[in-house]
Symmetry: C2
Subunit: 224 residues, 2 copies
């Protein structure tokens, strides 16, 4: 793994390089399990990092522009961005503070984001993004009208320059620390869903749809 | 809420300004419930966004430098950063795609991050950071030695220029959409812990500590 080649110097993982992975399969599994990204961009030398929803379509990330107004105002044709997706899997409790760690999977995608301008393409992008976040929902809601579509923005970012970083498994302690008398192991962490909360103005007879009852990001990750 | 004053033009929330909050109480509750931040910085015009652990100490964020090697190499005295913390609370399923949303709480802190250089201060910062991520753990593990302390870096960021954004509650549909025949409501999402997984080389008699059994970010959020 540590011998893998980064696609560019900018995406080469600097620290703990043995945790770096540069293949598309790994990155796409992580990107497809996540739904929230943090988009970084720079305005007048000041970096900004904004959370928003995204979905992958083949070798492209589609990013919901809702939260990115500050970014969009500064876009001409395209804007250098960094999109980072992080899945947290657990706290790793080692025998020494120095070896404590976190199990996680993250992907960093660098590149130039561009607005999806064409209304038909934007509708298609929104559809895909929606299906990636809540598969099955799109067919169950009122579709966007022309005015709403204009008010919505979607960014397109090619997945070309990227790297993943993955830590899994138990604590790795210094050999002499294994005799240190403390509990060690992993506390798993995961994003879980609760019971759906029905709207107060729900129409009679509307049941919780199947795609919510069985909602799981693992399922989404299996999507093509 | 919408009348609140942003501390600076850069932290003024641009879109959905009615969801913006600029008070310390709100920001600190969010910051204390979270443990993972996304740090944004710029190198040669390219933004980078890196996930890492953090903890708040009074009006300062302490940020674990582990993942920030790229950033640290480019630091002279200090570096403009954006630190963003996002807590995801649920998907909001509206009757129209346009009004679908997410319940979340996020904080954006802008400023200049500086390395904690002094070894005694660094140890104190690490201690605090550790206690913010897993309260109670510090006393149970081998403390860092001089070499380990040198290899660890902690960044300090004053919480001066910041804003929070919070969405809670049900879907807000256009009045004419309430008759649209679909399920609507909220699918709660939360970061949950699983059963602790003991290390294979655990010493006999070591039980899962109380602070893991009862681990909850809500408890952390109640810390002073």
């Amino acid at each position: 793994m540590s011998e893998a080649q980064a696609p560019s110097a900018r995406t080469r993982v600097v620290r703990e390089a043995h945790r770096a992975l540069y293949d598309r399969d790994t990155a796409y599994r992580i990107l497809d399990e996540g739904f929230l990204c943090h988009v970084g961009f720079t305005v007048d030398g000041q970096p900004f990092v904004i959370p928003t929803l995204y979905g992958r379509k083949d070798d492209t990330l589609l990013i919901h522009g809702s939260a990115a107004s500050r970014m969009l105002r500064h876009m001409k044709e395209s804007l250098p961005v960094c999109v980072t997706v992080t899945l947290v899997d657990g706290f790793v409790l080692a025998r020494s503070i120095f070896n404590q760690s976190m199990n996680y999977r993250s992907v960093v995608v660098l590149g130039k984001a561009a607005l999806v301008d064409d209304p038909a393409q934007k509708l298609e992008a929104l559809h895909l993004l929606s299906e990636r976040v809540i598969p099955g929902r799109w067919a169950d809601v009122r579709q966007p009208n022309e005015r709403e579509l204009k008010q919505t923005s979607v960014l397109r970012l090619p997945i070309e320059e990227f790297s993943s970083k993955v830590r899994t498994g138990p604590a790795i302690d210094d050999e002499e620390d294994y005799s240190f008398p403390t509990w060690a192991g992993v506390l798993p962490l995961a994003m879980e869903t609760g019971e759906p909360i029905a709207d107060e103005r729900l129409l009679e007879g509307q049941k919780v749809p199947e795609y919510l009852r069985n909602y799981s990001r693992m399922h989404s990750a299996k999507m093509p």
